[in-house]
């Protein structure tokens, strides 16, 4: 790409993003409170906060109900720990835009995360999976709409395809999923090592691994990563998706302008198993998921949300049979 084209591209994005912000700001902010735990926007779409857990062990969940009868239900599987912060507003934007296409959405915080009960060091892939199942059952009854799919970022993507395996025919949208447990742990340790370097101390990955084995827990920038959590990543291959035929949308958000090899292999293996997978590559500077402290400016306005949110809504909107 020539310099002139790149500059023009950036300036056009800059203008389009500003217009998109204005449009959202005007529409969404006109929501009003209907009940203590429910707001309705001008289109009639509702957002209701509910407890989808059991007595004494609440799961914070948000039901997004469209103005018209919902054509299908999409479950959002959030990643655990710091990655949830990075992705949270994107998930909310997705839910809100999906209701404008008459799709119902449920978002939730797994136990040990966000506003839900439990402690962060108790989180494993298994506990998140169980919470997804509870919330899916709860939302299917509450929203009275057929389940059509799951969407998840990072480890949420793994939870999404594992949950889809239990629900025949459901589609999956992955947002930069974690498909390699070793690489993920390496990334976590690297985040901690860089954090420590900034504080003037020095620790390496081997020491962190040893600490995890010895003490059962390691502190990654304020998130308690437990041995049980690490072990849960290695129990089964993270890229073990169910057989097709199913629909999928694979989104890569990283600096690379083309689909990276491991992702390409994953998509190819899905296609071999009769999945109909679309891919979307969003080249941006989203590399530090775990260490990132980005606020709305970083994760909402930028081009990632603008691309990934409408494309994912479009993907679920076009699924046939609902």
């Amino acid at each position: 790409m020539s310099y002139g084209t790149a500059l023009t591209f950036d300036v056009i994005w800059f203008l389009v993003i500003s217009m998109w912000e204005q449009e959202l700001a005007a529409e969404w902010a006109r929501a009003h409170v209907v009940r203590q735990n429910l707001v309705r926007d001008p289109s009639g779409a509702e957002m209701e906060i509910v407890d989808a857990g059991t007595p004494g062990s609440p799961i914070f969940a948000v039901l997004h109900r469209p103005a018209n009868p919902a054509r299908g239900l999409v479950v959002v599987c959030s990643p655990p720990y710091a990655e949830a912060i990075r992705n949270h507003r994107r998930e909310l934007l997705f839910a809100w835009l999906a209701t404008q296409s008459d799709l119902a959405v449920v978002r939730f915080h797994p136990r040990g995360a966000g506003h839900s009960s439990g402690d962060a060091h108790e989180i494993t892939l298994g506990t998140i999976q169980r919470d997804v199942e509870s919330v899916t059952r709860f939302a299917s009854e509450a929203l009275e709409s057929p389940l059509i799919g799951f969407v998840g970022a990072r480890l949420g993507g793994v939870v999404a395809h594992r949950s889809a395996a239990l629900c025949p025919g459901t589609a999956v949208a992955w947002w930069q999923p974690v498909l390699d447990a070793t690489a993920f742990m390496r990334e976590l340790f690297r985040a901690r090592m860089i954090g420590d370097l900034k504080q003037g101390s020095n620790i390496n990955a081997r020491q962190l691994n040893a600490q995890l084995d010895r003490e059962g827990m390691v502190d990654i920038l304020g998130s308690p990563i437990s041995l049980a959590f690490r072990n849960s990543l290695f129990e089964r291959p993270l890229d073990e998706a169910p057989p097709g035929p199913r629909n999928g949308l694979f989104v890569q958000m990283s600096r690379q302008p083309t689909l990276q090899k491991s992702f390409g292999d994953f998509v190819a293996s899905l296609r071999e198993r009769a999945w109909n997978v679309d891919t979307l590559v969003i080249p941006d500077e989203e590399t530090w998921w775990f260490g990132a402290r980005g606020g709305p400016v970083e994760h909402e306005i930028r081009r990632i949300a603008m691309r990934v949110v409408p494309e994912t809504v479009d993907f679920f909107d076009k699924i046939e049979g609902h």
């Binding site: 310099y3 790149a6 500059l7 950036d10 300036v11 800059f14 500003s18 912000e21 959202l24 700001a25 969404w28 902010a29 006109r30 929501a31 009003h32 409170v33 203590q36 735990n37 429910l38 707001v39 926007d41 957002m47 906060i49 007595p55 004494g56 609440p58 914070f60 948000v62 720990y81 710091a82 912060i85 949270h88 507003r89 909310l92 915080h109 995360a113 966000g114 506003h115 009960s117 962060a120 954090g195 900034k198 504080q199 502190d219 920038l221 304020g222 998130s223 308690p224 500077e285 402290r293 980005g294 606020g295 709305p296 400016v297 994760h299 909402e300 306005i301």
Partner: protein, 286 residues
């Protein structure tokens, strides 16, 4: 001990609803309400690493009623927010959240960074505010955005012709940064022709608010980390004089409070906040 009991609710405000969580006491009630105002740039009132969730539940186990909330356009609150500005605190959000503590004899506000600025700005509208704990409070007008807004055309022109900047136009990340600065400048230019925002905070007004709080007899505690860039707030006038007057309780914790990037520092901050709340509780009990 009673089970955890939290009420999730939306607060009706003129511009858009705000999401709030009320954590009910799980021990005999102290009559003290605690209002948690999170920093602006992190989405969600659970705050980074769930710091405020753990703090709220811990305070509730000591008998306090606790409210945390999401700012306009962040967390679960509807709306779309372009950016937080330290000199434009969200007073209405704080006041609306404080109404949930109406049954309490006294209120202690806790604010982190942007939350500290907003809490201070709203202090005179919260009647029973008996204490304010300000963590990593930062002075408006000292951040990079303020520098971008204040830079003169001459300074900018000089910067623009620097070799590194010219090279930067060929780097997509640097180019985006320049466009961002450009937007800040454009916004600053048009703001000259607008009515000034009603809630503009400055270093002087913030110091005055701190002073008036202490004059009211409220406990005011400032918490910083020894590695925080915001710690320099205390060396800037008129804060330096105020800090030396002894009216403020100042606690400097080891490490980086600003980022709260370890479990250890989170525990230290929690302890410092809980100590302040306990001090207010004791003074009301006696």
């Amino acid at each position: 001990m009673a089970h955890l009991s939290e009420t999730f609710l939306f607060l009706e405000l003129e511009d858009a609803p705000r999401f709030a969580v009320v954590t009910h006491p799980t021990a005999p009630e102290s009559g003290i309400g605690v209002l948690l105002c999170n920093g602006g740039w992190i989405s969600g009132s659970w705050y980074f690493n769930r710091f405020y969730v753990k703090l709220a539940r811990s305070l509730a186990s000591a008998g306090h009623l606790v409210v945390r909330f999401d700012w306009f356009g962040s967390g679960e609150s509807p709306g779309f927010l372009r950016s937080f500005r330290l000199d434009e605190p969200f007073i209405e959000d704080v006041v609306a959240a404080a109404t949930q503590l109406g049954s309490c004899r006294a209120i202690v506000g806790v604010g982190y960074c942007f939350g500290a600025t907003s809490l201070l700005a709203a202090a005179n509208r919260i009647e029973r505010l008996a204490g304010a704990v300000l963590v990593s409070a930062v002075v408006p007008g000292s951040g990079p955005r303020a520098r971008a807004t204040k830079a003169t055309v001459r300074t900018l022109m000089r910067s623009a012709v620097r070799l590194s900047v010219i090279k930067g136009w060929f780097n997509p990340n640097a180019r985006r940064l320049y466009l961002k600065w450009f937007r800040v400048r454009i916004r600053a230019f048009f703001q000259r022709f607008r009515q000034p925002a009603p809630n503009v905070e400055s270093r002087v007004s913030m110091a005055k608010r701190l002073e008036s709080l202490t004059d009211r007899g409220a406990l005011v505690k400032l918490i910083y980390g020894e590695n925080d860039s915001n710690l320099r707030t205390l060396s800037l006038e008129p804060f330096a004089t105020l800090a030396e007057s002894g009216k403020l309780l100042i606690e400097v914790l080891p490490g980086d409070v600003e980022g709260s990037g370890s479990l250890e520092i989170q525990e230290s901050i929690s302890r410092a906040i809980e100590d302040a709340v306990a001090a207010v509780t004791r003074s009301y009990a006696s």
